[in-house]
Each structure stands twice: as C-alpha cells, then as structure tokens.
C-alpha cells in the first residue's frame, strides 16, 4: 500500500552534469516533508536569488538548478575559503501521484520551497460505511 503514495526519490542525473559544462555542480541539501496535501521540498541554495533558480519537469524527473548571482570574492587576497562558486543541481524522481500542474515554488533567503500537491484522486479519503 505504501508504494502507491511513494515519496519523491532521488535519482541520478539523466546524464552526467560534466557533459553540459566543465563546471561541477553542488548537490544542495534537501528536506522533504509529507503533508496532507502532498509534499513540501526545501532545498538550500545560498547565494541564489529568484532569477537564478530553475525548476524543470521532464517526464517524471524534476530538476532543480540554482545559479549564483552574487559576485565571488576576488581570488587575490583570499585568506580562508570554505564556500564554493559552483552552481547547484539536483534531480528528483517524482511520485506519480503529484499533480504536476499545481507545483508551486518560492524562493526566500537562499531556500527554495517547492509545494507538490497530490492529485485529488491520490489523496487519502475516508469512506463512510453505510
């Protein structure tokens, strides 16, 4: 029964990211919550604003990409470095129960929040016994 309303699963990118550009991507940290309406996905994309984020759906694969817009610190004089300039990318496999037409996205302080409601037919329903 559980598999009918399966959660989003991570899937390997359809093709290696390196084919598109020479640059490597960072895999953003993600939380996925199951709600009564469907799923909520939160991805950490620090340094990415609304214009830099793209969410694409192809078949049952949902691709999240984030391009940093803030200028990088100049390389000269860099005293200590832990962050990266690389962009973000991650692919998810969609639960077929999600109503793809109703997916919505919000970007706030580097957190992308995707709301993925399930189609009405897929929602749990209480059936009254006559």
């Amino acid at each position: 029964m559980n598999t009918v309303v399966n959660t989003l699963e991570q899937a390997a990118p359809a093709q290696p990211a390196a084919l598109e550009t020479e640059r490597e991507y960072i895999r953003p940290a993600v939380n996925i919550y199951q709600t009564q309406e469907g799923y909520v996905l939160e991805a950490e994309l620090p340094g990415v604003n609304k214009e830099g984020v793209s969410v694409q759906l192809e078949g049952n694969l949902l691709t999240v990409e984030g391009r940093r817009t803030a200028p990088a610190l100049p390389e000269t004089g860099l005293f200590y470095r832990e962050t990266s300039d690389a962009n973000f990318r991650r692919v998810f496999e969609m639960d077929p129960a999600v109503d793809t037409a109703k997916i919505s996205a919000r970007m706030e302080q580097g957190i992308l929040t995707l709301t993925l409601p399930k189609a009405e037919a897929a929602k749990p329903r209480k059936i009254a016994v006559a």
């Binding site: 620090p46 604003n49 860099l78």
Partner: protein, 125 residues
C-alpha cells in the same frame, strides 16, 4: 559536509551541531567575511567583534510546521551555532557593515589605519 580542513592560523572555534561555511578575504582596505546561512532572518543572526575575533552566532530554525507525515528526507541542519574567526589584521570596530542577502551573510570590516599597507619612501642620496 562542512569538514573542510581547519587553518591553524585562523583559530576558528565553534560550538553547536554544525557550522556555517565561511570565507575570509583580506583586501587592501577591508576584511570581508562571507558566511552561508540560508533560511534565516536578519534579526536572528548575532555578530560581535572582540579583540580581533569576529563571532557569528544564532539559531537556525525549521521554517515550517510539519504535518502528520513529518520529514521523509532530512539533510538540512537546524539548531544553535556559534563560530569565531580570528581576523587577519586589526579592524576599525566602528565601521563594520553587514548585509544578509539570498541566505548569504556578508560582513565588511574596514582595516584600522595601522593595518593598511603603507608605502615607505626611501630617499636615495
């Protein structure tokens, strides 16, 4: 995830479950510190400067109430953090500028006059 090698000269100290990644840039007139802290509010970040040590602290909270199902996948970290960074030189504590945009905290600390590079004139006979 954030287990970058620690630079001994920086003398960073931290407490808490996790710590934000930080960049320190030693420019000509100012020291720039950049920290990745996505999903916070400006008011939730504390910045203090004492004896050449910059301390960033605060609490990262979950942004939403989870319904009955809860998190099915959890990679983000929440909780208190505190990170102290010894600055590479003397700064003027009165002219510290901070901004928080797109989940990135940027702090600009102007160097004190003594710490700025100086040109020394040499007189030749």
């Amino acid at each position: 995830m954030f287990d970058s090698p620690m630079d001994a000269s920086l003398e960073t100290q931290f407490t808490g479950d996790c710590l934000p990644p930080v960049d320190v840039h030693d420019g000509k007139d100012a020291v720039m510190v950049k920290a990745e802290l996505p999903g916070m509010k400006k008011e939730e970040i504390d910045i203090s400067l004492q004896e050449g040590v910059l301390t960033l602290s605060g609490e990262r909270k979950g942004s939403r109430e989870t319904d009955s199902g809860g998190a099915t996948h959890c990679e983000r970290w929440f909780g208190r953090f505190e990170r102290s960074i010894r600055l590479p030189c003397e700064v003027d504590a009165k002219t510290v500028k901070a901004a928080y945009t797109d989940g990135v905290l940027t702090i600009e600390l102007a160097k004190s006059e003594e710490a700025k590079p100086k040109q020394i004139k040499i007189q030749f006979n």
